[in-house]
Symmetry: C2
Subunit: 239 residues, 2 copies
């Protein structure tokens, strides 16, 4: 664990082997972070998927309860009470469905979205800047090689000046891209802590909000069709 926490921008121009070595440490860290982020995203998407499936399932159950009425039972005696009780339960399931749907939406917005944005914005930015830095480094190496060959031969001054200009331009370009790349890698070190926390706060807040809703839902009396109180079963609750 090196005692450094950022790449120094003033080292970018010199591009020493020490700086390159430190850069590779930051790159390795970013690679590990990318893998971990993908796994975390997968786990969070699974939670969201389960929550979403719960919405669809409660929706189907509610519909199925209402469908009893439309079954055209050949014998319908006493079915009015069953139907009204099933209607009541369907409403309870609907209320639950609203909470599940709200939670699913909240999980999507405050848990899954932030980590997708972290991946698409921060991690992708680092990856793009890495590619650009690689291209600029190659260009710089090529122009330097051209310059080396040039100094051995005895070319005219005009060609020499042009190659020197090319080297200078390539160095400027590499310097600029390394500055951007270093900045992005440094920023990632700060962003990663927040990026891990943000979706979890979203998850926890969503759960808290749901429980608060269901807690207030619970205080209302659940009293389905009082007439449906037979010797067999008595449906009556007080909280």
């Amino acid at each position: 664990m090196p005692a450094v926490d950022k790449l120094l921008l003033e080292e970018a121009l010199q591009d020493s082997p020490q700086t390159r070595s430190l850069l590779s440490v930051f790159e390795e860290d970013a690679g590990t972070l990318t893998d971990y982020t993908n796994q975390l995203l997968q786990a969070m998407q699974r939670v969201y998927g389960a929550q979403n499936e719960m919405c669809l399932a409660t929706q189907q159950l509610s519909k199925q309860l209402l469908a009893y009425e439309k079954q055209n039972f050949a014998l319908g005696k006493g079915d009015e009470e069953v139907i009204s009780t099933l209607h009541y339960f369907s409403k309870v399931v609907d209320e639950l469905n609203v909470l599940h749907t709200e939670l699913a939406k909240q999980l999507a917005d405050t848990m899954v979205l932030p980590i997708i944005q972290f991946r698409e914005k921060d991690l992708t930015e680092v990856s793009t800047l890495k590619d650009l830095f690689g291209l600029a480094s190659n260009e710089h190496d090529l122009s330097m090689a051209k310059y080396s060959r040039l100094s051995k031969k005895k070319e005219n001054e005009k060609v020499k000046t042009e190659v020197v200009k090319e080297v200078a331009a390539a160095r400027r370009k590499q310097h600029l891209s390394s500055l951007q790349y270093y900045c992005a890698l440094n920023a990632l070190q700060y962003r990663k802590r927040v990026a891990m926390m943000e979706p979890l706060l979203g998850f926890a807040h969503g759960q808290r909000r749901k429980f608060r809703c269901t807690s207030s839902l619970e205080t209302s009396e659940i009293q389905p069709s009082e007439s449906f109180q037979r010797g067999w079963i008595t449906v009556s609750w007080t909280c």
Copy 2:
């Protein structure tokens, strides 16, 4: 909708066309009930499946949060706080997982199981008794046909006595199986009301219990790693 609510056992022996017609109404009703029960069971199994998937998903998320520590990040500066906060969140997710697991178990035991039992016991019993009644009716018809042919010819007394015995035995068998079949169909009319309610009570009780648990969970203070309070984000809740 006929004004009858049961098949009269005393009509079983005579087995008149009126009784047969009424029987077919009860049979149609049982068929509709079987279809509806299968659809309801499917909807309930979907809710249970979603709840179960939520258990597995929260379990995976909790593990993934703990896995941060084992990533061997090349740069670990400041990770102690991230790790301890992720550990804290992992515990919160674990507590939720316990509730989800308990609810899934309760849904399996008090929602899905009763309706499976209703299908396997009551509906299957009716279906089995229907088959047996059909077989006994056929046997009775065959022995009656034999008897009809007999009365036209002039057979000896011994054969006649035997055929009469056979008819009597077939009629007893058919009578017995029709009594059992009628009883099962009558019982189904009473059972069906309870059978629709029982799993829903299980569902509602499970939800209530979960909310009560989460409601008490909510009153405990959520205060993750106070040291993790940076300029970027402050993790601190009071209920």
